[in-house]
Symmetry: C2
Subunit: 193 residues, 2 copies
DNA sequence: CGAGTTTTGTACTGATCAATCCACAACCAA
DNA sequence: TTGGTTGTGGATTGATCAGTACAAAACTCG
């Protein structure tokens, strides 16, 4: 054994996440990351290997946090339609609270696409898990009678995820909360009974 | 009078637009722009002043081109619902043709937000004009009976623009054309009679 | 022809980029 | 205490960044 770390690794990842979330991948320099985490360059590279590797960690952290929150809402009480409405409300509140930074996954998709590396894998993984949650909810909605039938749960899930992305972009361009709620409401009306 | 330009300014803007569209603003270096346009550094700076100014030109060019195409479809023949369906089909074809680069405006919104400068102004201007076109179409749809009433044309337009953005992001993450068509179809079903 | 004006190519600027090196500090086990 | 091991700070690396300086080239107009 030897000298112990002077910082919490998870807290550092969280700080890096906020830096990337605020400025985007390319525009965030390694110095920005040092400033955000409070670590020296040596510690950053000793712990995370490279800027891209730290970004991948930050992205995975963001995804896990976001999915946990979404899962809590989508598997919570109420009909599927009510849970989806709560999800949209939560998303809009989230945007206003976090200064309209959008979604790190959506922002990264727009900036980098889906590269053929660990970052791309993290993006695909998040998408996949979002769709799993939404598909389950869509299926349950038909059973509990709150959602219309006639569409496959997979298609409904893709539609909901697309709406989520659309709202994220909408928030990024500064649309009002009222407009965003109207969009969410209209989207829900397409699938509710 | 003096020595004439050896290049077409509009063609250079167009080439720069493709470079920015492919790699994003930050990741596109001035050397990339020289390579893409075929110009030397002097010509680029002599003509366009700075990287950001050239980006603004490229963005405006992209916006004008896109709006012209959209206007042609949305003010074309058929009911409003048919024109909107054609718009979505065109968008999806466009994505497949251009290698899933998404929309330059959406990508820029995600990367930079809406900064308080000429670039931000160009983004807001594009959004505004898209909404004008979509609002008109929504209004016409109620009159020609192809769209449902009960929602304000402005809300319907915001919903459509959000769906467009959502599809752009969806394409960026590599979703299938079938999935994208299903989303467009579901979105249309929310507003058609 | 030239005089005047603009474009162009090349070399260069200082700044910043991601990443590394290394001396030293801090700790654990023996 | 000490030997081995790991973490940390600060200086430094070469590459690349956006942007500029300047002289030669290419043109128009007189």
């Amino acid at each position: 054994m030897a000298r112990p770390r002077e910082f919490d690794e998870t807290a550092a990842v969280q700080s890096a996440m906020h830096a990337f979330w605020t400025r985007g991948y390319e525009a965030t320099s390694t110095q920005d990351l040092c400033a955000a985490t409070g670590l020296g360059r040596s510690s950053v590279y000793n712990t995370f290997t490279s800027k891209k590797a730290l970004f991948q960690r930050a992205l995975t952290h963001y995804s896990a946090q976001g999915l946990a929150g979404r899962k809590a809402v989508l598997e919570g009480p109420g009909t599927a339609a009510e849970r989806l409405a709560a999800m949209f409300d939560g998303l809009i509140d989230d945007e206003l609270e976090h200064g309209r930074r959008g979604c790190l996954v959506v922002n990264t998709l727009a900036e980098l696409g889906t590269p053929d590396d660990e970052v791309g894998a993290a993006l695909r993984d998040d998408t996949e898990k979002q769709l799993v949650l939404l598909t389950a909810c869509a299926r349950e909605g038909v059973l509990d009678g709150s959602l219309r039938g006639g569409r496959t749960p997979a298609d409904v899930a893709e539609f909901l995820l697309s709406t989520i992305s659309g709202l994220r972009v909408m928030s990024r361009r500064g649309a009002s909360a009222e407009a965003m709620h109207a969009v969410a409401d209209l989207a829900l009306s397409a699938i509710t009974r």
